[in-house]
Symmetry: C2
Subunit: 219 residues, 2 copies
DNA sequence: CAGCTCATGTGAGATGCTCTTACATGAAAT
DNA sequence: ATTTCATGTAAGAGCATCTCACATGAGCTG
């Protein structure tokens, strides 16, 4: 918890915190991880970093503004991780696509606090332009990958890449929401969410004509 | 708003409400529709039906218990509507399956308050056995439909019906969450959510080998 | 260094929600 | 008529959001 103060000491450095905005964001992540986005309170975050309950209002208009900022950062991290997984379609588009799907689910599981803030906190995604843009950039990675895959089909058999990316997004988000997290109570599954997503993608890509053999994922 | 009292009169019938439990549930639906599941308060619901803020505690242990009850009823209505859409696979499994998908999205849109309570209110689905059972029954409709479809494939090409039903559920839920409602801010789409889901299902079923022609949906 | 400015933090408090407790009411049972 | 008890009320403790007047001290200016 070195972010609770900007200095190395354990006690307060002075009247001013010095790094309150960052500290509050990290406190929010900790608290959301512990008690969910609904259980997170502004007052708790203030206590957690050792300031009065009025101090956070110097940095965020209200409780929702802090949540929005956390969500925005979540989308930025999400974008970075998806982008790295896609890796410009290397070593080949199919493998990269599978990595992309795994990265989606990995984010939902490993960055559960961010994921909660992004999708389960009840904030309106179009209320803040920065948030909307960050979400758009995350989606753009899926779109780019879908375009690369679609380009491998002859033009007369080629589906709209936007539609494909929406399908992939919805499927990934659905699996993440229902199975990789708490939406339906961590329902008992016959397979891991990653396997479930991969299987769905194989069927889907075969339906597009991008894969011929039922058991092959490579191109 | 005839449910606010059990009688036809506008004023209170007496000291006792007479129908408070039902009235509170309906008030919750109205308030959730207006301000979202997070904005709904117990005190608001009590005011809405004209009782003191302590009265609801005679019928629900706490605020969450009311939300759970609303969600449970939502799942029961959901099950009924999905079941009617599936209609035992008539007139044919493919048409019935398409109807099922449309019913899923129609519910998310038309019963937005129920949908919010069910999926966006932050309640734990496994905290209440009645809620979990109701959710299971809704999923059972999807599972039944998937089994019927899978049975049309020869055994050696037949995928696990459970897996197929999970795919269908995740895809439907993903589209409903992201596009038919507010999750990503009612993102501008090149097509209606129903068309998006139908297109995805056609590709998916083709990938399973259940459909051969790219533009045919009937069997 | 002295003094000014202003971003940042504090304390007190208004308002509202959740939930509890002691008491009131009246419909149904006897 | 009387009793019973489910259902309602009033009052209040505890906590959260958010505001406002005021305190602090970091950084600038000379």
């Amino acid at each position: 918890m070195s972010w609770s103060r900007h200095g190395p000491g354990s006690g307060r450095r002075g009247y001013h915190h010095g790094n309150l905005r960052e500290a509050l964001i990290n406190a929010a992540l900790d608290l959301i991880a512990k008690k969910g986005p609904a259980g997170f309170t502004f007052a708790d975050a203030a206590r957690w970093v050792g300031v009065s309950s009025a101090a956070p209002y110097r940095h965020f208009r209200d409780r929702e503004a802090l949540l929005v900022d956390v969500a925005r950062r979540g989308f930025e991290l999400f974008t970075a991780q998806l982008d790295r997984a896609w890796n410009d379609g290397r070593p080949d588009p199919f493998t990269a696509f599978e990595n992309l799907g795994r990265a989606y689910l990995a984010f939902a599981r490993e960055q559960a606090a961010y994921y909660s803030a992004m999708f389960e906190s009840g904030i309106a995604h179009d209320s803040d332009s920065g948030l909307r843009d960050a979400a758009d950039r995350a989606f753009a990675v899926l779109r780019k990958a879908s375009e690369t895959l679609c380009a491998r089909l002859p033009a007369e058999k080629r589906p709209p890449a936007l539609m494909v990316s929406l399908h992939v997004w919805a499927l990934s988000h659905g699996i993440a929401s229902i199975f990789a997290r708490g939406d339906a109570g961590r329902r008992k599954l016959p397979m891991a969410p990653e396997e479930l997503l991969e299987a769905a993608m194989l069927v889907y890509l075969r339906g597009l004509g991008l894969i011929s053999s039922p058991s092959s994922s490579g191109g």
